[in-house]
C-alpha cells in the first residue's frame, strides 16, 4: 500500500466536507467531478501503476479506470451542470441549517464513520490502507445526508452520487479489486444518473420543483 492511496482517500474525505459546507450547486458539482477523478485514480494507487504495463488484468483495469474517469468525472458533472443551468437554480434555496452547522454535521459524520470502522468492523488486513473503510463510510454518510437533507432535486442527485462513490470506495476496499459486476454497476449508475437528469429536466420545464415528490398529496388520478 502506497502513501498515494492514503492521500487519495484523505482527499475523498476532504471533498465530502467541502460539499457539505458549500451552498453553491456549481461548486458541489465540480467537487463531485473531482471526487470521480480521485476514484478513478484509486485503483492505480492501490495496485500501483505497474498494473498498466503488465499482468493479466491490464485491459480490465484500464477499462475500469477509463470508464470511471469518463463517467464520474466528466459526463455526469457535465449533465448536472446543464440541468442546473436549465432549472435556473444556482444555489441551495434557503439552506435548512446554516452552512457552518452543515459542515459541523459532516465532520461529525466523518468522525462517526472512523468510530464505526474502528469499533464495529474487523481490523483491516495488513498492508491495506486503514483509511479505506472510514473514507468510504464517510462518503456514504455524507451522501445520505445530502440526499435526505437536500431541498432540491439537484442536491438530492448530487447526494446520491456521493453516496454511490462511498459504496464504490468501500467495495474497492473490501474486495480489493474490481470484479466485472462492479464495473457493470458503475455503468448502471450512469444510467440512473441520466434517468434522474431526464426527470430533473422534466421538472425544470414544469416548474415548481419544491413540491415535487410529495406522494401523499398526489391527487387521485384519471383513467390509467
Amino acid at each position: 500500500m502506497s502513501l498515494n492511496a492514503d492521500l487519495l482517500l484523505l482527499l475523498v474525505i476532504g471533498i465530502d466536507l467541502f460539499i457539505g459546507s458549500t451552498g453553491r450547486l456549481g461548486a458541489r458539482i465540480r467537487a463531485c467531478a473531482l471526487q470521480g477523478l480521485v476514484l478513478a485514480a484509486l485503483p492505480l494507487a492501490i495496485q500501483g501503476t505497474g498494473v498498466l504495463t503488465g499482468g493479466e488484468r491490464v485491459l480490465h483495469t484500464v477499462l475500469a479506470v477509463l470508464a470511471t474517469l469518463l463517467l464520474k468525472a466528466v459526463a455526469i458533472p457535465y449533465f448536472l451542470m446543464r440541468a442546473m443551468r436549465q432549472s435556473g437554480v444556482q444555489r441551495e434555496a434557503e439552506p435548512e441549517h446554516s452552512l457552518h452547522l452543515s459542515l459541523l454535521l459532516c465532520a461529525v459524520l466523518v468522525g462517526l464513520s472512523f468510530w464505526i470502522s474502528a469499533v464495529m468492523l474487523p481490523p483491516p488486513e495488513a498492508g491495506s490502507s486503514p483509511l479505506g473503510v472510514p473514507a468510504g463510510l464517510a462518503t456514504l454518510l455524507v451522501g445520505l445526508y445530502l440526499t435526505v437533507g437536500g431541498r432540491t432535486e439537484l442536491t438530492q442527485v448530487i447526494g446520491y452520487l456521493v453516496l454511490e462513490n462511498g459504496v464504490f470506495v468501500i467495495g474497492q476496499r473490501v474486495l480489493g479489486e474490481f470484479p466485472l459486476v462492479v464495473e457493470l454497476g458503475v455503468l448502471l449508475d450512469v444510467l440512473v444518473a441520466v434517468m434522474l437528469m431526464a426527470v430533473l429536466v422534466a421538472f425544470g420545464h414544469r416548474q415548481d420543483p419544491s413540491a415535487a415528490g410529495n406522494g401523499a398529496a398526489t391527487p387521485v388520478g384519471g383513467a390509467r
Binding site: L140, V174, L184, A202, G213, R224
Partner: protein
C-alpha cells in the same frame, strides 16, 4: 445450456426490435408474440430445472427449482399482462394518442423489464443479481413515466430515488458479504456465486455476514416494498399504465423478495442455522401488514388501494418465510401474483369506463361495467383471503406453520392484521358495488379479450384453493428445499 441464454436473449432481441418498429400496433403485437416466445422457452426449461439446476456461461447463470418456480410466475403474469397491454393500448393506438415514440419507449422498456427480471432470477452471481435488480428499476421507471405528465414523472422520480438509494445499500451488503466470502474461498471457488457461497457459508464469520445481511435486507426490502421502506410503491404502482402496474405489483416485488430469500440459506449457513435471518423477516412482515391496513383505511384511489394491498401481501410472504412456512410463503407468492394481476386488469377497465379511479365517484360497479366490476369484486375477495380462493389456503397454511413453529403472538398479530385489512379493503369496493350507477353512464360491454384475461386467472385461483395439483406441490417442495426453512 443454450436455452437459458435464449431466455435472456429473446427479450433483449425483442427490446431492440421494439425500439425500431414503426407502428404502435405492431409493437403491441410484438409484445404478445415476444412474451409467448419467452414463455415457451421457459415452459421447456422449467421442468428440467425443477429436477436439477441448469447452468449457462460457466455457471454465471443458473436456473434451479426456486428460480424456476418464480420464473413460472413471472412468465404467467407477464404473458397475461402483455395481452392486456394489447387490450389496454389498442384503442389509443387506433386513435393515435399512443403514438410511435411512446410505443417504442413502451415496447423497449417492456422487454428490458422482462429481461432484467429474468436475469434477476437466473443469475448465479450476487453481483449480477444486483445489476439485474438495478436494471429492473431503470426499465420500470421508464414504464412508470410513460405518460410523462407531472404526477407520473414525480412518481417515477420518487421510485428511482428511493430504490436507487435502497439498492446502493444492497450493493454495500453484497460487497460486505462477498468480502467475507473472499476470505474463505479457496481454489476455484468464487465468492460471488450462489453455488459456492452456500458451500463456504459455514466457514464465514457470522458477525460480518449478519452485518451484510442487514444491508441486503433493507436494500432489497426497499425494492420489495416492505414497510417502512415501501413509500415509493403506491405512487409508482398507481401512476404506471395498468399493464405495468400489474407486472410491478404482481411479480417485480416477488423478484426483490426472491433476492432476499436467496441470501437466507447462506446467512443461515454462516450463523449456525438458528433461524436468525428468518426471524429478522418477521417484524418487517408484521409492520408491512399494519402499515398497509392503516393506509388502506384512508385511501380512495383504487390503484393505490391495490398498491398498499401489495405491501400487505409482500409482508405476508416475508412473514411466512420468517415463521418457517417456506412452502406456504411460496404458494402465497403465486396466489398473490395472480389475484393482484387480475385486480389491476379490472381496475384498468373500470377506470377507463368511468374516467376515474376514485372509489367514491364510481357507482353501480356491477351494472355499468359488469365483467370488470364483478371481476374486481371477486379478485378483492380473493385478495383479502376469502375462501375458496387459494389466498385463504396459503394464509391458513402460514398460520399453521407459524403455530407449529411456536410463534403464537406473531400468528395472532398476522390474523388480526389480515382481518383488519379484510374490512378496510372491502368497504370501499362494496360501496362501489352498492352505490347507484352514476346517472347517464351507459353500460359498457366487455370486449371478447377481457373474458379470458379476467375469468381465467380467477378460475385458476378458485381451483388452486380447492385442489393442489401434484406438479405444483412437487415444485413448491423443491423450491422450498432450496431455501431451507426456519428451524
Amino acid at each position: 445450456m443454450s436455452l437459458l441464454l435464449a431466455l435472456l436473449l429473446v427479450p433483449v432481441g425483442c427490446m431492440l426490435v421494439a425500439a425500431v418498429l414503426p407502428s404502435p400496433r405492431a409493437i403491441l403485437a410484438l409484445c404478445v408474440a415476444g412474451a409467448v416466445a419467452v414463455a415457451g422457452i421457459a415452459a421447456v426449461l422449467i421442468p428440467s430445472a425443477l429436477e436439477a439446476p441448469v447452468f449457462a456461461i460457466g455457471r454465471q447463470l443458473m436456473l434451479d427449482a426456486l428460480s424456476a418456480y418464480n420464473l413460472a410466475i413471472v412468465m404467467f403474469v407477464f404473458l397475461f399482462s402483455s395481452v392486456y397491454a394489447l387490450r389496454y393500448f389498442g384503442p389509443a393506438a387506433r386513435d393515435g394518442s399512443f403514438g410511435r415514440g411512446k410505443a417504442r419507449r413502451f415496447g423497449a422498456s417492456w422487454f428490458g423489464f422482462l429481461a432484467s427480471m429474468i436475469l434477476v432470477l437466473v443469475s448465479n452471481n450476487v453481483g449480477l443479481l444486483w445489476v439485474a435488480m438495478e436494471t429492473t428499476t431503470l426499465a420500470s421507471a421508464l414504464l412508470v413515466c410513460l405518460e410523462f405528465d407531472q404526477p407520473s414523472v414525480r412518481a417515477s422520480w420518487t421510485y428511482l430515488m428511493i430504490c436507487s438509494v435502497g439498492i446502493a445499500l444492497a450493493l454495500l451488503g453484497t460487497f460486505l458479504l462477498c468480502g467475507e466470502a473472499r476470505n474463505v474461498t479457496t481454489g476455484s471457488e468464487s465468492p460471488f456465486l450462489w453455488t459456492d457461497l452456500s458451500h463456504v457459508a459455514s466457514r464465514m464469520r457470522p458477525g460480518g455476514v449478519k452485518l451484510a445481511f442487514l444491508f441486503l435486507l433493507v436494500g432489497y426490502g426497499t425494492k420489495a416494498g416492505l414497510a417502512p421502506m415501501h413509500t415509493w410503491l403506491p405512487d409508482a404502482h398507481s401512476q404506471a399504465p395498468t399493464p405495468v402496474s400489474a407486472v410491478l405489483s404482481g411479480v417485480l416485488l416477488n423478484c426483490a423478495l426472491y433476492s432476499i430469500s436467496r441470501f437466507l440459506p447462506v446467512v443461515e449457513g454462516a450463523t449456525g442455522g438458528d433461524g436468525w435471518a428468518f426471524r429478522l423477516l418477521v417484524p418487517f412482515g408484521l409492520v408491512s401488514i399494519v402499515v398497509a391496513a392503516a393506509f388502506i383505511a384512508h385511501e380512495h384511489d383504487l390503484k393505490r388501494l391495490l398498491a398498499y394491498c401489495s405491501v400487505e401481501h409482500i409482508g405476508i410472504i416475508a412473514l411466512g418465510l420468517g415463521l418457517g412456512g417456506t412452502t406456504a410463503a411460496l404458494f402465497h407468492t403465486l396466489n398473490h401474483s395472480i389475484s393482484k394481476m387480475v385486480a389491476f386488469f379490472c381496475v384498468g377497465n373500470l377506470a377507463r369506463d368511468h374516467g376515474t379511479r376514485d372509489t367514491r365517484a364510481i357507482g353501480g360497479l356491477l351494472k355499468t361495467s359488469r365483467l370488470a366490476g364483478a371481476g374486481l369484486l371477486v379478485a378483492i375477495f380473493a385478495l383479502v383471503g376469502m375462501p375458496p380462493s387459494s389466498v385463504f389456503m396459503s394464509e391458513l397454511w402460514i398460520a399453521r406453520d407459524g403455530i407449529a413453529g411456536g410463534h403464537l403472538p406473531a400468528v395472532v398479530a398476522f390474523l388480526l392484521g389480515v382481518g383488519v385489512i379484510f374490512i378496510v379493503l372491502l368497504r370501499p369496493i362494496l360501496g362501489m358495488a352498492w352505490a347507484p350507477a352514476i346517472a347517464g353512464r351507459a353500460t359498457v360491454r366487455a370486449r371478447a379479450l377481457d373474458w379470458p384475461l379476467i375469468v381465467l386467472p380467477l378460475v385458476l385461483l378458485g381451483v388452486l384453493g380447492l385442489w393442489m395439483p401434484e406438479g405444483l406441490q412437487d415444485a413448491l417442495t423443491r423450491a422450498a428445499a432450496v431455501l431451507g426453512g426456519a428451524p
